[in-house]
Amino acid sequence: MSDAGPKLPDRAKRILGRLVDASARERILISFASLALALVVGAILLLASGAFATCGSPFLVFGGIEFCYNPIEVYRVMLNGAIGSPYSIGLTLRETTLLILAGVAVAVTFQAGIFNIGTQGQFVVGGLAGAALVQYTADILPANAVGGILLFVLGLAAAGVAGALYGALPGVLLAYYDANEVITTIMLNFIATAVAFTTVRSFLREGAAVQTALVPDYAVPPSIVFPEASSFSVLIFIPTLLIAFGAHYMLKNSPLGYNIRLSGEQPAAAKYSGVDAKRVIVRTFTLSGLIGGLTGGVFVFMVLGYWQPSVPQVGFDGITVSVLAANNPLGVIPAAALFGVIKSGAIALDLQLGVPRQLAGVLRGIIILFVAMPEFMRMIGRKFGLGETSATPAQERVTEENDD
């Protein structure tokens, strides 16, 4: 890195470091308050947008304007659709599984002070690699449980490796060419989509639709406990939780984890203590890509059963989940569960009330917006008498940093 590090990460490191400084309790408060405020803003948006929608029976007519969406009803349907039956709980846990993985993938890099937006691309590439492996090896392997397990393991390995390689790329570009990782990862997301589409259309397509072959039944992880229709397997969920715990343990106890945190929290100290910043950047990115790729693999095996080019923006959701969890892999679990409720609730909402499921995307943005404003949250906190955070350490740090 010679005498000057990549510009953005240094800055990012200070800021992320500052976020870590805020006490854990304050961070949890900020996260819950952000979620609550996002729901309030969402309710106002729903009320307002309901005036522009067309519906048979508006719930409220006021001043000649027909309001189609009742926010309370909307949230009730969402909650019911997310946790009202074993089937819907299965759907929510299915979302949660993907969100935990994507959230951990993002959190690992954010902890290092790297703004990695590329989990989406790694998700796409990983899923594609997993599906391609299924298509090419399903005929060779025996069509029984053993073959199924082999297919599953190989498919997930392919997904992880593809994701790791695709994740390493922006890491190398950042570490050795100072290419801003926010931009490179976003560009790589677009490229991933294009490559995936072309690959499926030209090489993997079997029928008329642009999609890969189905994962054979015997390779689909069995849904125990929950109804089969919810495409959720506890056998995947438990390892997912272990990955979150593992990432937490790795960050706390392994040399790489220590370097990641040090680079994120105190970049100057990291430099003086001889941390090889370039290597940390590339390794962090690779690790994150590995988990991002696995997310794609799980999506193919457990959720969709094949691969097609237009996939949900799980990688972007992972950013919200990670930010909500203060980039703590353990915090990612409850954050993913909460956001999972929103996501699967939104689908029920669409089907039952005709309110666009894109509401989940709206909330995704608003949540980050509020988490990004700790000052705003503290202000609100003080208003409501939660004043123990009145001396804002972040502010002092900013002035300090302005001096160098």
Binding site: L8, F52, F115, Y177, N180, M187, V195, P356, G361, V398
Partner: protein, 350 residues
């Protein structure tokens, strides 16, 4: 020494681009095909496609020069593209197509500027981290636009609406070649052609331009001179909003005539490409336009190749501008950003 490395890398970068271009033309076995490819129509298309990238870039440049890195520009383009179609579509029956497109453009500028103001308040008033706040603005509009599309039109892509007509400027448009390239264009393209030199002049030669630069480099000096740093930053951010407004509307009202809410919407990363354009253009509006024209040229090439029947995967070809962005970042990524960009400034007064 670092300065030297950077300079060398930039020079190498420019050389590589030039070499690839020359080689491509000279060594190609399809020389006549290439002549068919680079028609004046091709360059005109490239110019039209450069509008959103250039305006997003020039706007982002002002914001970053003043000390606020605006990654949210992508979101502002989305907001503008959506609003322009919404307003044009709903007003066309009362005011007629000719006026409706202008109303659409105006509304896009207003909404995008308000979006930028929101970003400014979050960054300046509430001291949010600029990168996270920018991501948030992007995500908010990436979520809102398809949501509202479905609320209003019942589908994620809007129906088609009226669009601007190309205006041929009398006399000038008769000039061979140049007349077709520069003087037969959409109003939004003319706006860009005016805005770029004006933005360059303002930044370089006016006192406001000096304040913007000082606000990003030496805010204390500006403060001492009695100019409010934060006010200058708000103004610069809102400029980025207004320009993104025109850029977003140019996409929908000058060519496509529709808002596409699928995937990453019709904007599809052009805001981020704009950011790379001003990095490559070294924070110079004219350089930004040059870089944007390069990316737009690749985009136009991809369209043109398909038109003349090259049977290559169109989606992969569509990704060429994104790949070019990464290549450019490798060579030009290490531009010197304003000293105090990304930091909050607190005046000693309050």
């Amino acid at each position: 020494m670092i300065e030297n490395t950077r300079l060398t890398r930039r020079r190498i970068g420019l050389l590589v681009i030039a070499a690839v271009a020359v080689l491509g033309v000279v060594a190609s076995p399809y020389r006549t095909d290439i002549r068919n490819l680079f028609t004046v129509g091709f360059f005109n298309t490239a110019l039209t496609l450069a509008v959103p990238i250039t305006l997003a870039g020039v706007g982002g440049l002002y914001s970053e020069k003043s000390g606020v890195i605006n990654i949210g520009i992508e979101g502002l383009l989305i907001a503008a593209a959506f609003t322009s179609v919404l307003v044009t579509g709903t007003t066309v029956s009362t005011v007629g197509a000719d006026n409706a497109v202008w109303l659409g453009l105006l509304a896009a500028v207003v909404v995008s500027t308000l979006g930028a103001l929101l970003f400014g308040v979050i960054c300046i008033r509430y001291k949010a981290d600029q990168i996270i706040a920018g991501l948030a603005i992007w995500f908010v509009f990436l979520g809102l636009a398809p949501f509202f599309s479905r609320v209003y039109w019942g589908q994620i892509n809007s129906p088609t609406v009226a669009t601007f007509d190309q205006i041929a400027i009398p006399v000038l448009s008769e000039i061979p070649w140049l007349g077709t390239l520069l003087f037969t264009n959409y109003p939004t393209t003319y706006l860009m052609l005016i805005i770029v030199p004006v933005a360059w002049y303002v930044l370089k030669f006016t006192s406001f331009g000096m304040w913007v630069r000082a606000s990003g480099e030496h805010p204390e000096a500006l403060d001492t001179a009695g100019i409010s740093v934060n006010r200058v930053r708000y103004a610069s951010i809102m400029i980025s909003g207004a320009l993104s407004g025109i850029g977003g509307a140019a996409m929908t009202l000058s060519t496509v005539g529709q808002f596409i809410g699928q995937g990453q919407t019709i904007v599809n990363g052009r805001g981020f490409i704009g950011i790379v354009a001003y990095l490559m253009g070294n924070y110079n509006p004219i350089g930004t336009f040059g870089a944007a024209a390069l990316f737009a040229g690749l985009d136009a090439l991809q369209v043109r190749l398909q038109q003349i029947g090259f049977d290559i995967a169109p989606e992969l070809f569509g990704a060429i501008p994104y790949m070019a962005v990464i290549v450019v970042l490798v060579f030009f990524g290490y531009t010197r950003i304003p000293d105090r960009a990304g930091e909050n400034y607190e005046s000693g007064d309050d």
